[in-house]
């Protein structure tokens, strides 16, 4: 294993229509480590993940996966590169017409020529790892939110990828399944030696499992460091986010004109 980072993002610019989402983002994801990308809702974290996965094209800058620019690949080479990555979507994104078993078997069936018996064994191993071997015959519509995410996790690791991208893995989970997921992600990562990128705004859970954190705000990296160093960071913007203070440099109010003149104007301007 070399020491070069697995993912390198350099000077990334991206905009949607008129809105500029990233204004020069630089970050590195070291091999075999868990790196978190955090930031307030709407700061473009999921967009960043899609840029890393090559699903969106940046306006400027580049994303290197093991030294290869993912946006300079042909369609075919891009799909080949993605076989080394797994992605856990926020919604799970299971194929609704396939059973749990077939969902996990899907990557194996399309990318390998393994005999059916071996596909079965592999799928059952992945399902056992997420504790859902017994749910193999259920359809995605019959699963709870936490189970959906666990099946999606089993599918993401079906081909033993080197890199996993987690998009908001903890959002909308009850405390029990949240705890299960946190443990599961941590354990899988250690056992399989994966490189992971976790996009999240669940501070406590994320900081408890990752090795390094990038905080993103206003289209740029606001701060980065180990979870410990961020905890004691004195920058008011970092403090507000890490400690969940409702008001501070990131204002509680969406930009608006003066409150009193707005109220007094009622019915006049419209």
């Amino acid at each position: 294993m070399s020491d070069t980072p697995f993912v390198v993002v350099e000077g990334l610019h991206f905009s949607r229509g008129e809105t500029e989402i990233f204004r020069g983002v630089d970050l590195q994801v070291p091999r075999g480590k868990m790196t978190a990308i955090m930031g307030p809702s709407g700061s473009g974290k999921t967009t960043l993940l899609k840029l890393i996965g090559g699903q969106l094209q940046p306006d400027a800058g580049r994303v290197l996966i093991e030294g290869e620019n993912i946006h300079a690949q042909s369609r075919k080479a891009l799909f080949a590169m993605r076989r080394r990555m797994g992605m856990l979507f926020q919604s799970g994104a299971l194929f609704s017409d396939l059973s749990v078993f077939e969902n996990v078997a899907f990557p194996l069936r399309v990318h390998t020529d393994l005999p059916e018996a071996m596909v079965r064994d592999l799928v059952l191993m992945k399902l056992e790892a997420v504790g859902l071997r017994g749910a193999r015959d259920l359809m995605p519509a019959e699963l709870s939110g936490g189970m959906t995410r666990r099946v999606a996790l089993a599918r993401a690791i079906a081909l033993d990828p080197q890199l996993i991208l987690y998009d908001e893995p903890f959002v909308g989970q009850d405390p029990i399944s949240m705890g299960v997921l946190v443990q599961l992600i941590k354990r899988l990562n250690e056992a399989l030696g994966l490189t992971s990128v976790v996009v999240s705004h669940d501070i406590k859970e994320t900081l408890s499992i990752v090795d390094y954190v990038y905080l993103i705000s206003d289209g740029q990296v606001m701060a980065h460091g180990t979870p410990k160093s961020l905890d004691v960071n004195q920058d008011p913007r970092v403090r507000q986010f890490v400690h969940g203070e409702p008001d501070g440099p990131v204002p509680f109010h969406y930009p608006a004109k003066d409150y009193f003149s707005d109220i007094l104007d009622a019915g006049v301007s419209s």
């Binding site: 993605r82 990555m85 994104a93 194929f95 609704s96 899907f106």
Partner: protein, 260 residues
């Protein structure tokens, strides 16, 4: 004034851009090298867009043939020309009604379903997750649906014509008492295989490409919200119906209008 010119310009550019996107989309998916299970996926889609549209297409064909015979008979009998009924029913069905009406029904029944299905797959990130698994959704999801539509509609059109001609026979001969020999005989002597059946099939193939292309592209290109899906489904039916009727005129002019 300047504003409206600018809006017109932007509208033009947007329209051109989406045509370009749709063209690239059609090329990339229709000519994608099929995956290993491509045939199975295609067969499954043939069931959804073809077999499940069979009932509505055949029943409509029957009624249209029956109405044609009823109207045709009452007019032709005034001129003592009721023996030309078979010819009239067969030619109007083969040249015009079967390709056009079958395409319109197909757009409503199968086209809208294709748009909604692909749109929902996009909205629930299933297409994205397929991309991240390293499977091209154009190859796996879009191509089988496109080719199923390309093949299914011409076959449905054949069924429509056959049932329509039989419906005409039921009304014109069995019910109104026309002479059976002249119904079939006149039809046989006047219908040219290449000119009438062939041109009708060419029309139907053109409609199949256009309708399926519109349906699948609208699904793939929509804004992934519930409103986006409902709008795209409506657009599929509206655009395909207009395209079918407009193209029918153009094709008829070329094939039967003495332009060629």
């Amino acid at each position: 004034m300047i504003d409206s010119i600018r809006r017109l310009g932007r509208f033009g550019c947007n329209a051109l851009e989406s045509f370009g996107r749709a063209g690239g989309f059609l090329f990339l998916s229709a000519f994608a090298v099929p995956s290993r299970e491509g045939f199975g996926l295609w067969l499954r889609q043939m069931h959804f867009v073809g077999v499940l549209s069979l009932a509505i297409v055949l029943v409509s064909g029957l009624f249209i043939g029956m109405v044609l015979a009823l109207q045709g008979y009452t007019i032709l009998v005034d001129f003592g020309a009721e023996q030309a009924l078979g010819q009239m029913v067969a030619l109007s069905l083969l040249r015009e009604l079967a390709p056009v009406v079958a395409a319109l029904l197909f757009a409503g029944r199968a086209g809208s379903a294709l748009t909604a299905e692909i749109g929902l797959m996009k909205a629930t990130e299933q297409l994205s997750s397929m991309e991240m698994i390293g499977v091209d959704p154009l190859r796996r999801v879009v191509a089988p649906r496109l080719w199923a539509g390309f093949v299914a509609l011409p076959l449905l059109t054949v069924g429509f014509s056959v049932v329509g001609i039989w419906g005409g026979y039921l009304v014109g001969v069995e019910w109104l008492g026309g002479f059976e020999g002249s119904y079939w005989g006149n039809m046989q002597s006047s219908v040219e295989f290449l000119d009438d059946v062939g041109n009708g099939m060419i029309k139907s193939m053109v409609f199949a490409v256009v309708v399926t292309w519109i349906a699948v592209f609208q699904g793939y290109d929509l804004i992934p919200t519930s409103e986006g899906i409902s709008r795209a489904t409506t657009r599929t039916v509206v655009y395909s119906s207009l395209a079918v009727l407009g193209l029918d005129f153009v094709l008829t002019a070329i094939m039967f209008g003495g332009l060629s």
